[in-house]
Subunit: 353 residues, 2 copies
């Protein structure tokens, strides 16, 4: 197969971890006989510094030309804590999601047996956890209008808005995923307070009869925030709106003890983007110590979700498991064993794929 | 002192746990020489069934007449999962908060050594946890207008709105609490996305110089959702808006392993309400098995926050600790030991105060 992959390394440790994923993707391409083209483009603070825009048109063009986007991370401390900053790296991220139509953020939570002891939760609560969030990513309060201030600047407002259509396309992805998994779908909302949540619940209730093999549960976001920690194994597929998804997927990410390894996909009808869930981790940037596994596993998701190539995805998952078993890992998970450099882990993975 | 206390037992186990708190409050009154008058009024599903309104005017009048309100719980499954229900118990709760001006929800999280092993978290993460949330309770997306649907019903919207004034009064409570505690204030927002959050951050930044002894940190809500589970001991006082507070305080409630014991206060300029954080738990209603300790500890908060009577509050905390030490507890925390009835625990506490 011929594949065009856009590389958006972004800020902080982004470039370093993307570089390792590229090594692994190339090795997989060689092994399975694919021709893979890469095209790189700036995003985030890096793009602000270069071009004055966190998601420049030129970067958007690169993404449009590509079959899939591999994304690193964005965010730079110099833009934090300044509520009046005019351009923010995050705006680039949001604009990118919207312009590429990436309406579904897929965030799996699963465990690596060799890392489970790092979980803040007791092992018996975590062992075997396996659920996936489908977070709506291009709607809700992130994009709703009006938003801003009154004239005197003494009042601020945001608008949360959802259409039945937006809810339907996200919910269908959740239903379909549930059909291929343990057949349980949890719709997370705040229908006891929010008009948008009532539309979510109503829409999901209307769709449910089309998926008779899927059991649907409705839970309030505050209850899920508790139960995710108490009984994470109770969940299979969860669907939710943008802001709830932002909070809950991050909460979920600490459960397995392997946050530094968790990949994600952001899917649209046409475009597809893959990225580690960890951030730009500026303290570690440039030191060749960042853990590249989440990005490498995001590349695995890419082979599966963007190209339907499951064997290639599995080959990556396998080599990651092998690196964990043999202790070829970065310092964050080395635990007294030898700590390999980011680039060394990438080289090892590429050589062993 | 002469005190007028409004009792709003509400739904489910509400009446049973309130009854125990009343026993304890009476015993404290007797011991310390206070004259305490109680006036009871319906709220929630109970009030809908009786009067057709989850927060009737007659109940509001009872609250206005009182120096403090002791609240049980509201919510009845017959009103759940019906997105089109016209009257909902929760509406009563929200109307009550607004009409009584209860703008600050105070939710402490602390541990009971004898229960800490019930935490889903590892003991070393939880031991000594001691933080308190100040959740804004009468603003934000819970009350913002416009909210509703478009004409065809295919689009729904909610409005999040905050004024500088609303933020200021809540933030000042947080600053003052921090001054009396470990002097760390965390402002939780989503300032990288929301206009309201930027006003929160800006307002808190403006107030900070008035409290030079308090260290202020600003964290995004998604980061706090993680760090609460990873490093709960890192927090002291947290302030946040209504919806974030709803989610995070519930998440926080599972940390200590003593959710069934956690009290709360909802404070206004004039009115003050105290309630357990657990819900109406309809499955247990009428069985005399519900744990009354959260309501009893809410009564302790009442003596402290509503009347400034710290010795009385301490007397209640002490007798609760004694009941835990001597195993005079309900089945949820009996763990193989004798399980006492709700009413028996109440009698014991009142007798031993
Ligand atoms: C950086 C921020 C705007 C973003 C979001 O809130 O969506 C991030 O938290 C995420 O989840 O990808
Ligand atoms: C019942 C519901 C409306 C309420 C809220 O969201 O405020 C509850 O979750 C709470 O936290 O007291």
């Amino acid at each position: 197969m011929e594949m065009n992959i856009a590389l958006l390394p972004g800020d902080g440790i982004g470039p370093e971890v993307i570089a390792q994923a590229v090594k692994v993707v190339k090795a997989v391409g060689k092994k399975f006989g694919h021709t893979i083209h890469f095209e790189e483009a700036p995003v985030g603070a890096t793009a602000i510094d270069l071009i004055g825009d966190p998601y420049p048109d030129s970067t958007h063009d690169v993404c449009l030309r590509a079959d899939a986007v591999l994304f690193g991370a964005i965010g730079d401390p110099k833009y934090d804590n300044d509520p009046k900053a005019k351009v923010r790296p995050e705006q680039g991220l949001l604009r990118m999601r919207q312009k590429l139509g990436l309406f579904a953020n897929v965030r799996p939570t699963f465990t690596f047996p060799s890392l489970i002891h790092k979980s803040p939760l007791k092992i018996e609560r975590v062992e075997g956890v396996d659920f996936v969030f489908f977070r709506e990513l291009t709607g809700g309060v992130y994009f709703g209008e009006p938003r801003g201030r009154n004239e005197q600047g003494t009042k601020a407002f945001d608008t949360n808005v959802y259409s039945k259509e937006e809810i339907t396309r996200l919910a269908r992805m959740g239903f379909e995923a549930a059909q291929k998994r343990r057949k349980l779908l949890t719709c997370v909302d705040k229908a006891n307070v929010l008009a948008t949540s009532r539309l979510w619940r109503e829409t999901v209730q209307e769709l449910a009869p089309e998926y008779p093999d899927v059991k649907v549960e409705y839970e309030f976001v505050d209850a899920v925030a508790m139960r995710l920690i108490q009984w994470p194994k109770a969940y299979d597929v969860l669907i939710t709106e943008n802001l709830f998804g932002d909070i809950l997927t991050d909460e979920a990410s600490v459960i397995s003890g392997s946050m530094g390894l968790m990949p994600s996909a952001s899917l649209g009808t046409v475009n597809k983007l893959f990225e580690p869930i960890h951030g730009s981790y500026p303290q570690a940037a440039g030191k060749d110590i960042a853990n590249p596994l989440a990005t490498v596993l995001s590349a695995a998701m890419m082979f599966d979700y963007a190209f339907g190539l499951k064997a290639e995805a599995q080959a990556i998952t396998d080599v990651v498991n092998k690196s964990l078993a043999e202790g070829v890992v970065t310092e964050d998970i080395a635990e007294g064993g030898k700590a390999y450099k980011t680039s060394e882990v990438g080289d090892w993975l590429a050589a062993n794929v």
